[in-house]
């Protein structure tokens, strides 16, 4: 009797892209469907391409570079790097997303550059975001990115997979951000190092594509290589009108072999906060409620999408940001900015006292747009709160959902957002 073991999503995608029968632990050279770099990492990739003696990319339609981390440029050093990226685009034909287009991790799926079943690499650690739309996408460094841009191929170790199932249902005032923070708190910053995560369960099925991306985005915060989900009817509906390649959804086999399995009851999860200076330093929001804050930030590849702005606007509409607090908002893309304007969210947020900055990474990575002062506490929807992350190593960053940030900036202290939701506490 033959027993051919079933495959995880990761094993199936690597098999299809390497022409081998790939299982966890195998090292494969695989074809990549797309390669991306941002303005922090692309310059080193361009230099690596020069060192390889390469002056073209494997397929200009499958390479994009995005100016999002320091955008528009705050300083002449960055301006020079942006110029280098624009010239790279002209020379190779690679797609250039210039300042104001948005965060790479919103733009790449939004434009349909990747579709379900794809394998892609990006020179940014949060490339794992598109696992939410069934793409094996992972962050690499600039030299790996350059090798992929040059040849359309890269070597990979096929990862083991940890299966994470969320049971129950989200309670009012609790969001996908809280689910992934709860996981980081449980398994730690290296809890899934070298592994792929596969997210399953009725809670994931019930989430919008926007909310699913928040979870996959933070897979790297537990060390994972990817944060994969199945492509369902919602995913396919989201892809209508995006890009020119047909989705090829990949489901895991029923008998796929997982390295470990974790079941989390979403009904038991309340709003979560990651405290300074580690993403796995997580506690229920009640434990830090009342902590004074000087700045709030809503945006990033984690939580800068339309649904996030809608949640923030629903809380801030008709209310005011506390006079001792700055609220900074960066939509994740120009399209999201336009949609949020159309829906009236931007007016609600600005009238409440928010400062809108250009679509892009905003102050998340500490290069511009709101560097906190010494001793200040910030509550942010971003994915990292490392020491110095927002540009000042003497500031303190708390991470939470858009609802938690919106509720907190009104009071001037960290505040449980559930009071704003019917059925919340």
């Amino acid at each position: 009797m033959s027993t051919i073991p079933g495959k995880t999503i990761a094993e199936k995608i690597f098999s299809a892209h390497s022409g081998t029968d790939a299982y966890a632990g195998d090292i494969v050279v695989a074809d990549v469907d797309f390669v991306m770099g941002q303005d922090g990492t692309t310059p080193l990739a361009i230099r690596a391409l020069e060192n390889m003696g390469v002056d073209e990319v494997f397929d200009p339609a499958r390479v994009a570079v995005v100016m999002d981390h320091s955008s528009p440029s705050p300083i002449e050093g960055v301006s020079a790097l942006h110029t280098m990226m624009r010239e790279f685009g002209k020379k190779t034909g690679a797609k250039v997303y210039d300042v104001g287009c948005g965060v790479c991790h919103q733009l790449i799926p939004e434009a349909g550059h990747v579709v379900p079943g794809d394998l892609m690499v990006g020179c940014d650690s949060h490339t794992c975001t598109y696992g939410a739309v069934n793409v094996f996408s992972t962050g690499v460094g600039s030299t790996d990115g350059a090798a992929a841009m040059a040849s359309g191929k890269l070597w990979f170790k096929v990862p083991d997979t940890m299966k994470v199932t969320y049971t129950g249902e989200l309670r009012p005032g609790v969001f996908s951000k809280d689910l992934i923070l709860a996981l980081a708190g449980k398994i730690g910053a290296d809890g899934a190092t070298y592994m792929a995560l596969e997210f399953h369960g009725p809670v994931i099925d019930a989430l919008s594509v926007d909310a699913r991306m928040t979870i996959s985005n933070m897979a790297i915060e537990v060390g994972a290589k990817a944060g994969l989900m199945r492509a369902d009817a919602k995913t396919l509906a989201w892809y209508e009108g995006r890009g020119d390649r047909a989705p090829q959804p990949v489901d895991p086999d029923a008998d796929a072999v997982y390295a470990s399995e974790l079941v989390l009851d979403a009904s038991a999860v309340g709003p979560q906060v990651a405290k300074p200076h580690a993403v796995d330093n997580v506690s229920p929001i009640e434990e830090v409620a009342g902590t004074p804050i000087a700045q709030g930030y809503i945006g990033t590849c984690t939580n800068g999408r339309l649904e996030d702005l809608e949640i923030a606007a629903s809380i801030l509409r008709g209310r005011k940001v506390h006079p001792d607090v700055r609220l900074i908002i960066a939509p994740a893309s120009k399209q999201i900015l336009l949609d949020a304007m159309e829906a009236g969210y931007i007016r609600d947020l600005v009238e409440a006292g928010a400062v809108m900055v250009s679509p892009g990474c905003g102050p998340c990575v500490g290069t511009h747009n709101g560097v906190p002062s010494d001793g200040e506490n910030v509550i942010s929807t971003a994915n990292r709160n490392f020491k110095g992350r927002m540009g000042n190593s003497n500031a303190f960053i708390y991470l939470g959902s858009p609802a938690a940030v919106a509720a907190s900036v009104i009071e001037g202290v960290i505040t449980d957002p559930r009071q704003y939701f019917k059925g919340g506490e």
Binding site: M52, V78, G139, A147, A278, T367
Partner: protein, 165 residues
């Protein structure tokens, strides 16, 4: 590759934001990056590190961002090799691709203190703490990675591959 130098020991989850903060990524000049290496974690590191010194850390070294500036900053600050209990995945690849020697050796990390004199043989995977006289062995690289290092790294490998195609 054989190196000898003083150990600088740090804790777990040393992330790439503290290795080289993003506010310095407006330069890709290795000397400029090296001048700010680890400054948010240990402001005295850059002024005390000597060529050949050894960086020692606990689990998950290099977690966080994919910035290749991190191994470049460490190497150009004078560090000859990083010994850790474990490395974050992207940093591991970046170190190999940029030529920064790394060794995974949990016992060695427990057996080395800041200031200890350490000699390492990267090819043999040997680590000797000359201050205490203890020696340790690092986990070997997987064969594929070893072959790539021998072949001169990913840049050389890609050059050859493109010529073949």
């Amino acid at each position: 590759m054989r190196f000898s130098g003083a150990a600088h020991r740090y804790g777990r989850d040393i992330d790439t934001d503290v290795i080289i903060p993003a506010r310095y990524l407006n330069s890709s000049d290795p000397a400029e990056l090296a001048a700010h290496c680890l400054e948010d974690l240990d402001a005295s590191f850059v002024s005390t590190v000597q060529p050949g010194d050894v960086l020692v850390a606990e689990e998950n070294f290099g977690c966080g961002s994919s910035r290749e500036h991190a191994p470049i900053a460490i190497q150009h600050a004078g560090v000859s090799v990083v010994i850790a209990k474990s490395f974050a995945r992207i940093f591991y690849r970046n170190a190999i691709n940029t030529g920064l020697p790394i060794m995974e050796a949990p016992d060695a990390v427990d057996g080395i203190r800041t200031g200890d004199r350490v000699t390492v043989d990267v090819d043999e995977g040997l680590i000797l703490n000359e201050t205490t006289g203890e020696s340790f062995r690092a986990a070997p690289f997987p064969p594929f990675v070893k072959e790539m290092i021998t072949a001169g790294g990913l840049v050389e490998r890609t050059k050859r591959q493109l010529r073949k195609d």
